[in-house]
Symmetry: C2
Subunit: 328 residues, 2 copies
């Protein structure tokens, strides 16, 4: 094997831990270390032999790192950190605020172009793998409709909304795709589906002492933006049940393209993810795309790019000849 | 819109007809004409305004064609035609003899490199879209297993085998994925599956007059390579039923990657096609990839390439900025 790709991790939450684990499953990569804004001495990595450094030491390590994986959040961390770090490193990040991607792309493109680095942005499964499948779907079947369903999965934003309701001590929210809607889409009939028809929502809530269940339920199911447009079920459980049954972070979903190549021929393409751990899978996707970012940079493709710009072959440690013989 | 991509079709069977139809659904393309080894006057294209030329006139039209879509068969046509035409045209073909792809790649690469053309080979769904998903699956989840299932679909090769049996006047064969096997794979348990457990086969046979049904059935279900390793059901039907119920060419299947990112987290990626018309869909895929072949050639990527080398964005008529805003 040629020399291993040297990876740095910037930020160490659920995603950073997942990236640390995923690098261990890719023998052509090596982890230089984790970089944190916290006190490095206070941070315990998954693997005791992983080096932990202060974020302030990053630029000094510039020549030791081929690709820096940015594991900060899309709201507060990446918009600031991303452009600063793209001026020094080839980066991969999971920026996932869909509406702000064009703006973030421009903010990453300028420093990366100026510095000869490559900034591979918005990597993950949505945006990411789902985006790729939306593109393949509409390009391969021009006359058709694309449907995205999410779940069954834990939604962080909706869980936060539930926890802000008066009388709620703790809780989680799962988004569920509606089976009837998926079956209708799979049939090739290209149904028009309302928000309420596509997904349902299920909440597991621990009440504060003395709180009134009926009014908590009413406050949740009528909450605008988050729940009012959906059929929502609220289950009241004990703190023990919450701790026992709802610690995992499953997620997933479907991208379905349904269209016609002629009046009599319906064609359906379905892409589905069923994930036991959303952060571990997202981390695994980031690490795979770090290989592509490294190669794109070596080929002179500088500036911001997205998963839509990455040829599939660049994701694999195998050679073109191996891929043609084994996978084509 | 910039100038349209000028497409030629070499060979006019089911696939060529599908390509002609698919070009009509892509407004950034225009069809120069169909080229045939038959007498052009005897060929009736789908669209009466489509020009039909002799294959002998192809090289004279070299400057009028941006991409030539080769619609010949993998067994007899493409191994000869492909390298000859790649010396003059940027080409897209559906060469699908998996075991001979490396050899065909080399045979196309040499003339294309020498002439500055691009030969995009083995385009379709398997090889093709399924290959891409096998690659994504193993790259994204390195610790795992990949499963490919085919069907429910009409198999040309197995239908031919049925029709060669003594006493068979006509017939078709459908390959069916076994539901129990798919459910087991979807569960994330990574089962080991035998050939017999993965697929079943279903034949619809019209007997010759006086033929013995029991011995025909026995000859089919015990046929080595084709049926002996599968559970096969044989239905005897009338010529009228065959004509009424078995003229369509449906197909499809699944590529499923099942793996673990940690001991406790199973992750499953599923890609599924459900096609009413296999030739129409394959044709639509070829036409989509003609756009990419045109662009790769303009970018100076000469020689043979495969779907694994094509960035998703190159398949879409939309600009990078549009794709990022609408699909990412």
């Amino acid at each position: 094997m040629s020399e291993r790709i040297r990876i740095g991790i910037a930020g160490y939450g659920n995603l950073g831990r997942g990236v640390e684990a995923a690098i261990g499953k890719n023998p052509d990569m090596t982890l230089v270390g984790v970089f944190t804004r916290r006190d490095p001495a206070q941070l315990t990595p998954l693997n005791p032999s992983t080096d932990v450094f202060s974020m302030d030491d990053l630029t000094a390590k510039r020549d030791d790192i081929d690709v820096l994986i940015l594991c900060g959040g899309s709201k507060d961390d990446l918009p600031i950190q991303g452009p600063e770090l793209a001026a020094h490193f080839t980066t991969v990040d999971s920026f996932d605020t869909h509406a702000r991607i064009p703006e973030y792309f421009a903010a990453m493109d300028a420093p990366a172009q100026a510095s000869g680095t490559t900034a591979l942005i918005s990597v993950g499964w949505d945006p990411g793998l789902f985006s790729i499948n939306r593109l393949y779907g509409e390009a391969l079947i021009p006359e058709g409709d694309t449907y995205t369903f999410w779940g069954r999965g834990l939604s962080q934003g909706h869980s936060d909304a539930v926890r802000r309701v008066d009388g709620v001590a703790a809780g989680v929210q799962y988004t569920l795709p509606a089976e009837a809607a998926i079956d209708a889409v799979r049939s090739g009939t290209r149904p028009q589906l309302s928000t309420r028809e596509k997904h349902t929502r299920e909440c597991f809530v621990v009440l504060e002492e003395g709180a009134d269940a009926a009014s908590v339920e009413q406050a949740i199911v009528t909450m605008p933006h988050y729940f009012a447009d959906y059929d929502t079920t609220v289950h009241f459980i004990s703190a023990e049940e919450l701790a026992r049954d709802h610690q995992a972070m499953p997620h997933g979903g479907f991208v379905i393209r349904s269209g016609n190549t002629s009046d009599t021929a319906a064609q359906v393409i379905e892409y589905r993810l069923a994930l036991d751990s959303n952060p571990e899978f997202t981390a695994s996707v980031l690490v795979t795309y770090a290989r592509a970012a490294f190669r794109l940079n070596k080929l002179g493709q500088h500036g911001a790019v997205t998963v839509l710009d990455v040829p599939p072959a660049m994701l694999s440690p195998k050679s073109g000849a191996e891929l043609r013989a084994e996978l084509l």
